[in-house]
């Protein structure tokens, strides 16, 4: 068990007092920022990137592990106490969790979310230990053509499979690819799309793009539609669960984990589908079917576990292939690059200690999360009451600070504003953000991979289809593109009734429509 040895070394590295302190800071910062309304996990990681600039890579990754799970957990607290999910994967948690909170069971909802996250996160990280090195050692045997195909798969999956409108997904993707073009062409050394500005020849810093689109774009969008009366926060004491709550929670936790991890690990996974599946399953299996829609604990336990297991699963393609499949992973990958670490299949070979320290920190961060957050829940609930002008002024301030601190040049602030306005436009017109970010990250890598493999193949296009894995992946891509068409035809012939599913929450008025739908 070579991997187990590495994992132990990782723990050794991560468990020094100094590094444990970093883990604590990461968990606390991650939760605190994640709890703040309007800030999802991706934005949490983007805003906290500058904090890690001048610490060593291993310390930075230890913090990241905490920030990642902390931001995730913070989001579920917001969903339960405010009925306002920070991102689509916590929509389901908000449905049942907020109903529980309104029925005076906020403490139990928070507890089952926290403990469920811990269970799912621990199992998920364990599975990560099992799978990521295996995937990685398989991936290193693949040549450039296969790797190119896999990256294309990720692009197609994120754009065409996730999200509601393919047209809008494609628009977002192309805009992202365009941003990725800026800079010196790596083979011929010519500046491309730089407007003749020398500072742009290294390309646009992806941290600036991420902070702009996630933080600034969101702040400007909220500014245009700020609720004059902030949503009401349900007061809560220390989370706890009774015996019957435990009895009703443990199975949903495990089932949710089983749904979440594989979906997270797939290039086209995402966390929405498994949380949804988990919700339906729990509703079907529950002995308390009548409670669903009114605050059933199973409806919080299952989806929340699925969400966290999926977060752990996302790390499999990220660490073993260098592929980001959700926004948070995309932002984390930019952190890798800013430390001069080239993400990709060779990561486990080149930086084993760093990667295993990161994985060990995931276990530690997950544990710290449980220990710190159960007693701190009332404090987090207070954070939800932050006056909105200060909250969004603070986001603007830290976004500017984060973008500026990268290179200390005003040009980055100008880019921040430009892409912030782009983010505002995308939110206004319902363009998904994820394809843009994935396009910025993967576009340059796809071009490089394509041209390098053609160089190796002597300029022969046929050399791209020499590996079986590459051909299989291209077939999968073709199926992904064709499947929706087939489904459309099938649906036209066999119309199915819409599933009985409560309306998505989006604040007070959504609750009304949902009740109408149930009446």
């Amino acid at each position: 068990m070579d991997n187990l040895n590495w994992l132990l070394q990782g723990f050794e590295q991560a468990a020094t007092p100094m590094n444990l302190l970093y883990a604590c800071i990461g968990v606390l910062l991650g939760t605190a920022v994640g709890v703040l309304p309007g800030i999802g996990p991706a934005m949490t990681v983007a805003l906290l990137l500058p904090v890690t600039y001048n610490v060593s890579p291993s310390a930075a990754f230890i913090m990241f592990a905490g920030i990642y799970y902390g931001g995730m957990y913070g989001g579920s607290t917001t969903s339960i106490l405010l009925n306002t999910p920070g991102e689509s994967s916590s929509v389901i948690t908000a449905i049942e969790g907020n109903k529980m909170a309104r029925a005076g069971r906020a403490a139990q909802a928070l507890a089952t979310a926290a403990i469920g996250s811990f269970v799912a996160g621990s199992i998920g990280t364990m599975l990560l230990v099992l799978f990521a090195p295996a995937v990685s050692s398989f991936a290193v045997t693949l040549g450039a053509p296969s790797y190119l195909a896999i990256m294309l798969l990720a692009l197609v999956a994120v754009t065409a499979v996730l999200g509601t409108s393919k047209l809008r997904g494609c628009i977002s993707l192309l805009l992202g690819l365009a941003i990725g073009l800026v800079g010196i062409d790596f083979l011929t050394g010519q500046p491309r799309a730089t407007f003749g500005i020398p500072q742009l020849s290294d390309g646009i810093d992806i941290v600036v793009v991420a902070v702009a689109v996630f933080a600034l774009g969101e702040a400007l969008w909220v500014a245009a539609h700020l609720r004059r009366k902030p949503a009401e926060v349900i007061p809560v004491g220390r989370p706890w669960m009774g015996k019957s709550d435990w009895k009703r929670s443990w199975k949903p936790w495990l089932r949710g984990t089983a749904y979440g991890f594989p979906f997270g690990a797939l290039p086209a996974g995402g966390a929405e589908l498994p949380t949804f599946l988990s919700y339906i399953t729990e509703k079907k299996l529950s002995k308390h079917k009548d409670e669903f829609g009114k605050g059933a604990i199973e409806g919080v336990a299952g989806p929340e576990a699925a969400n966290n297991a999926s977060a752990a699963g996302t790390l499999v393609p990220m660490l073993s292939l260098g592929l980001p499949t959700n926004a948070t992973a995309a932002v984390m990958l930019t952190a890798f690059v800013s430390y001069g670490i080239q993400p990709g299949p060779t990561l486990f070979e080149k930086e084993p200690l760093l990667i295993w320290t990161l994985i060990a920190s995931l276990f530690i961060g997950n544990f710290l999360l449980l220990v710190l957050n159960l007693p701190l829940a009332p404090l987090w609930a207070k954070l939800l009451r932050t006056p909105r002008p200060y909250l969004y002024a603070g986001i603007l301030f830290f976004a500017a600070l984060g973008a500026f601190a990268v290179n200390l040049q005003w040009l980055d602030l100008a880019l921040l504003l430009t892409f912030g306005l782009l983010g505002l436009m995308m939110r206004r017109f319902g363009l998904p953000v994820l394809p843009l970010i994935i396009g910025v990250i993967l576009g340059p890598r796809i071009e490089r991979q394509l041209r390098q493999s053609l160089q190796l193949g002597g300029g022969d296009w046929g050399s791209l289809f020499t590996e079986p894995v590459a051909i299989i992946v291209y077939i999968v891509i073709a199926m992904l593109l064709v499947a929706p068409l087939v489904a459309k035809v099938v649906r036209a012939h066999y119309p199915v009734a819409a599933p009985d599913f409560p309306d998505g929450p989006a604040g007070g008025d959504a609750t009304d429509t949902r009740e109408k739908a149930h009446a």
Binding site: Y53, N54, T78, L82, T84, G86, S88, S89, V91, L162, T164, S165, L167, R168, C170, L174, L175, A178, L181, T188, Q190, R192, A193, W221, V222, A223, A224, L226, A231, E272, L273, T275, F276, R388, P389, Y390, Y392, A393, L396, F397, A405, L408, L413, A414, L417, G420, L421, F429, G430, L431, G443, R451, L454, Q455, G459, A498, F501, D503, A506, G507
Partner: protein
């Protein structure tokens, strides 16, 4: 397929509100067309690679992406005319029924431009204070003194935190030598 998006689609079906065509979406078309034209023109100014070993060359990607943007801007324009509307992003503090307070957004963007223009002259500590206090005021906080006080704590605090803690010297500007 994409679960959480489904419910809203369902609710839109059950309660058919007469949706007006959203012509503001043509802004997206304009942006796409502008970026597309720029990429194509820029790409044509490049010299190609050595066709033997680099058959793709530096031009292909910008041409494909730029061309794709131009094509999609037309497709999107047609979709808009046929009544395609995007679902605006919702969020905890977003009131989707409000008409949109674009004056606030304009003021914030203006404040940001001021920040960009003066960050080197005034230094981070001062401009950070201005940025926070200004943004809080624009967003509706009427406690002037408190706005400036919190801004100053953030601005000067981050200056020292980055300088001492992270070793990143943010520009001191006119306070050079004092800070």
């Amino acid at each position: 397929m994409t679960a959480p998006a489904e419910p809203s689609a369902v609710s839109a079906d059950t309660a058919p509100a007469p949706k007006r065509r959203d012509y503001a979406q043509f802004v997206v078309c304009a942006v796409m067309a502008a970026v597309g034209v720029f990429l194509v023109v820029d790409a044509l100014s490049l010299t190609g690679g050595f066709a033997k070993v680099d058959p793709v060359g530096p031009r292909l990607f910008p041409l494909v992406i730029g061309g794709g943007l131009l094509v999609l801007s037309v497709v999107f324009a047609v979709a808009i005319l046929r009544g395609s509307t995007g679902e605006a992003d919702s969020g905890e503090d977003v009131d989707p029924n409000s008409p949109g307070d674009w004056k606030t957004v304009g003021l914030l963007v203006g404040l940001f431009v001021v920040t960009i223009a003066f960050v080197d002259v005034l230094g981070w500590a001062i401009i950070g204070t201005v940025l926070f206090a200004g943004a809080a005021t624009i967003l509706g906080s009427r406690h002037w003194v408190r706005n400036v006080a919190i801004g100053a704590v953030l601005g000067f605090g981050s200056f020292y935190a980055f300088y001492v803690g992270l070793g990143i010297p943010l520009p001191a500007g006119i306070l050079d030598g004092i800070l």
